[in-house]
Amino acid sequence: MHALDGVTFDVSQNETLGVVGESGCGKTTLARSVLLLTRPTSGTIEFEGTDITGLQKREVRRLRSKMQIIFQDPISSLDPRMRVRDIVAEPLVAAGERDHAAIMERVRLMLEKVGLSSETMNRFPHQFSGGQRQRIGIARALVCNPEFLVLDEPTSALDASIQAQVLNLLRRLERDLRLTSIFISHNINVVCYMSGSIAVMYAGEIVETAPTRDLLSKPLHPYTQTLLASVPRTDPSQRRPEGKIVGEQPSPVSPPPGCRFHPRCPHAFEKCGSAEPDHVTIAANRWVACHLFAS
């Protein structure tokens, strides 16, 4: 089963790359692979110029302090038997820090940074709301001063009004701490709000990448166009007519031949069913994998 098939991208320092796609497109596998939580079958991952793909467990652990992840589910990602202070301190302890007083001071500082008072330190996760638990998860991810952050659907489980708080917090932290991030979500509005550039995934591949503004003003890949056309707008006067898009994303076990989107593509022609499209460079930070754009 090819969860990810030939995915290539890079993220520049201090930038946020958004990864958007529907369920089963491979974006979570991507998140886990980048952090070596899942070992890639083939290919390389370079972090700060160094190939980290083949690193041994101990070296990976050392790397963890620089590369962190925030998950979707604030409930299952926090150990219910640990107090908040120990949850947030864990990455520091794992990195070899021994000075207990220094650890707790850092924990207190991080909790403050995410808008939680030091009173929360002695409590347990179940005593907090979803939004607060997510803040605890963010504090834990940032406690080791990482340079790189992967956020996998960090606000999808939160109510809209809480999501706004957490997104604004994340934006502020990314700016203040000069973080480089990959922001993954199925929600296009959220991804575009949080990211300077976007990679669109479909059936285990990236089909298009572009700076956010360019992607929105001129989406090139037919799937990107479909995706953007499907997003409900909060404007009743602009209701979507019954779309021409039919069918669903293919199973990763047996993708269609040629371009994986061709069975659903309104522009598909003969080549699309037999040959996989190459990446076509459109501009400096923009490419698309689609035969429509091949020279």
Partner: protein
């Protein structure tokens, strides 16, 4: 009166828990007319799902408890206090429900066709009193295929013989809608029917539901937290907060001129593709504890317009514009 399919009056429902009474619904009034889609929107814990379940008597009692004076009038008949067998008759004949997870209503050990047939049989039970003759098995099969075609399933014969697990998420949802509509209900209660679906599939299902409204005479109570979906499907919208409706208007009026500070805050908190430069506004705080909702206006702890009276006096509904009502002291005369 005759144009109303559903009229909910002063609905109050508590859940009696170990920690005390949980005030899930605190006096809800809502009417749904014929051929109307009423959207019910709110965040988690506001009571919208409990309200939907109340219409079908699906909240287990105990621990749920309906308070005195609560009425749910379905085609003029109060169904609020009915027992299970009385309700099954009503459910099978006049009101259908679909859920976020299709597997809540789809039985895994029966084929899609068999489950739709059951909806048809329940409908026939009702129609028997209107002296319609029983359908033959050929006619039932034809109706099953019609129901599947209604939801735009391309090969209904094949799908009718499938089990739920053999279908994709979008197909399961269509099958669930087919099942619900085969009973030819006057009212369909849909609780987050597209939330679990991918956005491209969601847009197909919403367009389908909009088309179906023109074809069948079924009103819909569409429950969701997603304002974008509400804008796509609803005719009228009721916004819920802490067990009460705080604002109600036509969908166009609600989105163009939201009155209640909570509605305004909710709309402002959504990232929009057309306005990426602006920082989205955030409402402070979080939704109140249903065990101990704030006194006065439940929204006051989070409201930037709150005054002294908001803390102590519960606002009543006023109608500052035709067809647009709001429960907020800002608009009292």
């Amino acid at each position: 009166m005759s144009t109303e399919v559903l009229s909910i009056e002063n609905l109050r429902l508590n859940f009696n828990t170990e920690q005390g009474a949980l005030y899930a619904l605190r006096g809800v009034d809502l009417t749904i007319g014929r051929d109307e889609v009423v959207g019910l929107v709110g965040e988690s814990g506001c009571g919208k799902t409990v309200l939907g379940l109340s219409v079908l008597g699906l909240n287990p009692m105990p621990p749920a408890q309906l308070l005195e004076g609560s009425r749910i009038l379905f085609r003029g008949r109060d169904i609020a206090g009915l027992n299970q067998s009385e309700l099954t008759l009503v459910r099978g004949t006049g009101i259908s429900m679909i859920f976020q997870e299709p597997m809540t209503s789809l039985n895994p050990v029966f084929t899609i066709g068999e489950q739709i047939a059951e909806s048809i049989r329940l409908r026939l039970q009702r129609e028997r009193s209107e002296e319609k003759s029983r359908l033959t098995s050929t006619e039932v099969e034809a109706e099953i295929l019609d129901a599947l075609r209604l939801v735009r399933i391309a090969d209904p014969e094949r799908v009718a013989h499938r089990y739920p697990h053999e279908l994709s998420g979008g197909m399961k949802q269509r099958a669930m809608i087919a099942m619900a509509l085969a009973a030819k209900p006057s009212l369909l209660v849909a609780d987050e029917p597209t939330t679990a679906l991918d956005v491209t599939i969601q847009s197909q299902i919403l367009a389908l539901m909009r088309d179906l409204m023109r074809e069948v005479q079924t009103s819909i109570l569409f429950i969701t937290h997603d304002l974008g979906v509400i804008a796509e499907i609803a005719d009228r919208v009721a916004v819920m907060y802490a067990g009460k409706i705080v604002e109600e208007a036509s969908v166009h009026d609600l989105f163009s001129e939201p009155l209640h500070p909570y509605t305004q805050g909710l709309l402002a908190s959504l990232p929009r593709l057309s306005e990426l430069d602006k920082e989205i506004e955030q409402l402070p705080g979080s939704v109140p504890d249903a065990l101990d909702p704030p006194k006065g206006c439940s929204f006051h702890p989070r409201c930037k317009h709150a005054t002294d009276q908001c803390v102590t006096i519960t606002p009543r509904f006023v109608t500052p514009r035709t067809g647009h009502k709001v429960a907020c002291h800002l608009y009292q005369e």
